[in-house]
């Protein structure tokens, strides 16, 4: 008699731990052929708030890491993903992506992490500067992370899209709460397991699965989220912008209805980091 395989219970990665939704709700994930695959946590607004708390706890420590250290940790995350490319490609396959395309997406995701790992100890040198003011002050502008950034990932390229949004945000010392693709959540479940073994402190990246309709409004209005980065429909963009006004939240919204080529070199750039830093200018006196 053939051995019955053990199936994995999907859990989301929040605050460095693997949890189910506080509501105990799940939704069934079916594979490309329509067969039942697993029950995915259907996270709630309360789960989102809890994840924001976890991100807040992790924030100061992550921001204080040296840029060199953050770069190494991002590189380590790329190592973890590289080593488990086959498993991740299979996870992408659950959502109906063919084998070759899945492998290509995983490779691109690894490369994207490497790209931002390299930026960690350089972006400051390009974005910040010393300002020649007309007074006896050493005046300099540096960047600082904004704090906690909410991320809403796209359905196409469920892994590469998610990583392309998360990586630039954490490179500069922000922490994140990210909602994975609603249609293809399984790669984010597997990604959580890689994050857990990557030296990335718990709480820096918190991944939720669930329904956009339920969670996007809370991403918009949660005042502890200092910014939102989302691939969103016209209605969602409007909702996010309306909610953002309440606490003067920063938003970076890409249009879900437009085709985004996540594989292109244009999908990664310094200015994706810049969009989630604050500029601080200090006037330091010069004198005896």
């Amino acid at each position: 008699m053939p051995r019955l395989p053990i199936t994995k219970t999907p859990k989301v990665y929040v605050g460095g731990a693997f949890i189910r939704s506080e509501s105990a709700r799940t939704f069934p994930l079916r594979d490309a052929r329509g067969a039942f695959y697993a029950n995915i946590p259907q996270c709630t607004r309360k789960d989102l708030r809890n994840a924001v708390e976890a991100a807040a706890k992790a924030g100061p420590g992550w921001a204080r890491r040296t840029a060199y250290n953050r770069g190494q940790i991002l590189y380590r995350l790329a190592e973890m993903l590289e080593a488990r490319r086959a498993e991740m490609a299979e996870a992408l396959g659950v959502g109906g992506i063919g084998r070759a395309a899945a492998v290509r997406e995983v490779s691109a995701a690894v490369d994207r992490l490497i790209y931002y790992a390299g930026w960690a100890d350089k972006y400051e040198q390009v974005l910040g500067n010393v300002n020649p003011v007309a007074a006896p002050f050493f005046n300099f502008t540096v960047t600082e992370p904004m704090g906690i950034v909410g991320i809403v990932a796209p359905d196409p390229a469920p892994l590469l899209g998610l990583i392309s949004l998360v990586a630039p945000v954490i490179t500069s010392g922000n922490t994140t709460v990210a909602l994975a693709s609603e249609k293809a959540p399984y790669p984010a479940i597997v990604l959580g397991e890689m994050l857990a073994t990557s030296d990335l402190p718990g709480g820096v990246v918190n991944l939720l699965t669930g329904f956009r309709k339920e969670l996007v409004p809370t991403f918009a209005t949660h005042t502890h989220l200092r910014a939102v980065s989302a691939v969103a429909s016209a209605d969602e963009r409007k909702a996010i912008q309306l909610g953002a006004a309440d606490s003067v939240k920063r938003t970076r919204l890409l249009k879900a209805e437009e085709r985004i080529d996540w594989f292109s070199a244009d999908a990664q750039h310094l200015y994706a980091i810049r969009d989630f830093v604050e500029f601080k200018t200090t006037w330091h006196p010069i004198g005896s």
């Binding site: 003011v133 309440d246 003067v248 200018t281 006037w283």
Partner: protein, 502 residues
């Protein structure tokens, strides 16, 4: 109300003579020293659209007054939606036809010209600014007007060097930009907004503040003298409704607003669902932190400048003083002494330190919040200076014994009112300074360079002044964290906010 006369001087223990005290103000009156340059005001100002002064379509005018005398200075056209639309059409024609295509080096020359022509007429503009806004002539003469010229001069040089603004990417102008500015630095805010927008190749529709439109319209004369192509800058005057029309116009690719957080949020909501880029420079409640090793006299001067500069009508004003407990008593005593010699009155007098509150509405708001502060338990000290009989004036005010939950510690008063809190440790200072929804600026007074850098790292504010306060420079980016807004003005960071990456 405290008595007008100074308290009886304490006698020196040795000689029995009164201890000398350099407070002359209440012993004999000063002679007035008015600035007499001609502001060259017109009785009536029209809108500036497509390079020409044109009346508003509705034919309506509103009065603009001198807040120090409440007398009418001029009447100004009230722009309606049709006027705003005409301004945007002109701006789009200028963006597509001339300005957006012009070589950067040529755009630069126009901006240099504007800077020079403004320097030529600096004194005239300073008087006009003081008449219309109520700020002391020494501030408009030594700060507002020269700094406005400096902004045009600084940004002029960027116009042909834009490939250095965003390393790795090419930049392009956004098109037409809608801008709404406040009444506290009417000419300077206009320069902050217009100069980087124009350097990048955008054209502008700008609404000056309702109460302070005059220097903007005078600058339009300079735009004409400089030969600036028609439509590159369009000025529409009016109140909130005009501002809303400027922000909402479909041609505006970007809007830039400086003003209160409350209005900033309304604008953000009204633009939700559009693709307009935004920058917001909103309110503040800056902490000015004095440590016990600070040079106390210098710090007290800085605190006075931090909160009484421009009557406290400064979004980055140091309105929360955090004093280290060991020196709190000494600092407060010195502050009170310093307040007694502040000269409040005629803004055109060259010796005036604190001028007129910009409007009756603002004066009422300040009075209300100070009343709330006293009701909530703060102790009030006001300078015992005489105030002019007419005009909008408010005594320089200290509130001591303020706690973090008091409204005067949380809300922006936008007036000459300083709320004083104390702290014991560095961590407590950081905690209290950051315990606010705002994050525009902060001040640190200490003798230790390492502590300056530590505090600068910890404070959640866009600008940190160390052993100084309220310093500005066109090369120095300015803007807030949190509910103080987003985007920067000035420097390389500021000009990029007027570009798109291509």
């Amino acid at each position: 109300m405290p008595p007008l006369a100074s308290p009886p001087p304490k006698s020196s223990p040795r000689s029995g003579r009164p201890r000398p005290e350099l407070i002359f103000g209440d012993l004999w009156p000063y002679d007035p020293a008015p600035e007499t340059a001609d502001p060259k005001l017109k009785p009536r100002y029209d809108l500036f659209i497509d390079g020409k002064f044109v009346p508003a379509r509705g034919g309506k005018y509103f009065d603009t007054i001198n807040p120090a005398t409440e007398k009418k200075l001029a009447e100004v056209a009230l722009a309606g939606p049709a006027d705003v639309d005409a301004a945007y059409q002109a701006a789009r024609r200028a963006a597509d036809g001339v300005w957006g295509r012009m070589a950067g080096r040529e755009r630069a020359k126009y901006l240099f010209r504007i800077a020079r022509l403004l320097q030529d007429r600096a004194r005239e503009f300073a008087v006009a600014e003081t008449l219309n806004g109520g700020k002391p002539i020494k501030e408009s003469r030594d700060f507002d007007v020269p700094m406005a010229a400096a902004h045009f001069f600084y940004h002029a040089g960027w116009a042909d060097k834009l490939e250095y603004v965003a390393p790795g990417r090419r930049v392009a102008p956004l098109g037409v930009v809608g801008q709404v500015i406040p009444w506290n630095f009417p000419l300077l805010m206009l320069a902050w907004k217009i100069a980087p927008a124009l350097a990048m190749g955008n054209t502008v529709v700008l609404k000056p503040a309702e109460t302070t439109p005059i220097t903007a319209l005078k600058l339009a004369e300079i735009f004409q003298d400089a030969g600036l192509p028609p439509g590159v800058v369009n000025l529409v005057t009016g109140a909130g409704a005009t501002g809303a029309a400027v922000m909402a116009h479909p041609i505006a690719a970007k809007v830039a607003f400086t003003g209160s957080t409350e209005v900033g949020k309304i604008i953000m909501r009204s633009l939700a669902g559009t693709d307009k880029k935004m920058t917001m420079e909103l309110g503040g409640k800056a902490a000015n932190i004095i440590f016990d090793d600070a040079p106390i006299n210098q710090a007290v001067e800085g605190v006075v400048n931090g909160i009484f500069f421009n009557q406290g009508h400064v979004c980055c004003a140091g309105s929360r003083l955090l004093v280290h407990e060991p020196v709190a008593e000494a600092v407060i005593a010195k502050l009170k002494q310093r307040l007694r010699v502040l000269r409040v009155g005629d803004p055109l007098d060259k010796n005036t330190d604190v001028g007129a509150i910009n409007s009756r509405e603002q004066l009422n708001k300040i009075r209300h919040l100070v009343d709330v502060g006293v009701k909530e338990g703060a102790e009030l000290y006001q300078a015992p200076c005489p105030l002019p009989a007419r005009g909008f004036f408010f005594r320089p005010t200290l509130l001591t014994g303020v706690t973090q939950s008091h409204r005067v510690a949380r809300e922006e008063i936008f007036g000459p009112v300083l709320s004083i809190l104390t702290f014991r440790t560095v961590d407590e200072a950081v905690e209290k300074a950051n315990n606010t929804a705002f994050g525009l600026s902060a001040g640190v007074w200490t003798d230790k360079g390492s502590r300056i850098l530590k505090m600068s790292t910890e404070l959640k504010a866009g600008v940190v002044w160390a052993n100084t306060f309220n310093k500005f420079d066109p090369a120095s980016p300015f803007g807030g964290y949190k509910e103080s807004g987003f985007g920067r003005e000035g420097g390389r960071q500021g000009i990029l906010d007027y570009a798109k990456l291509v």
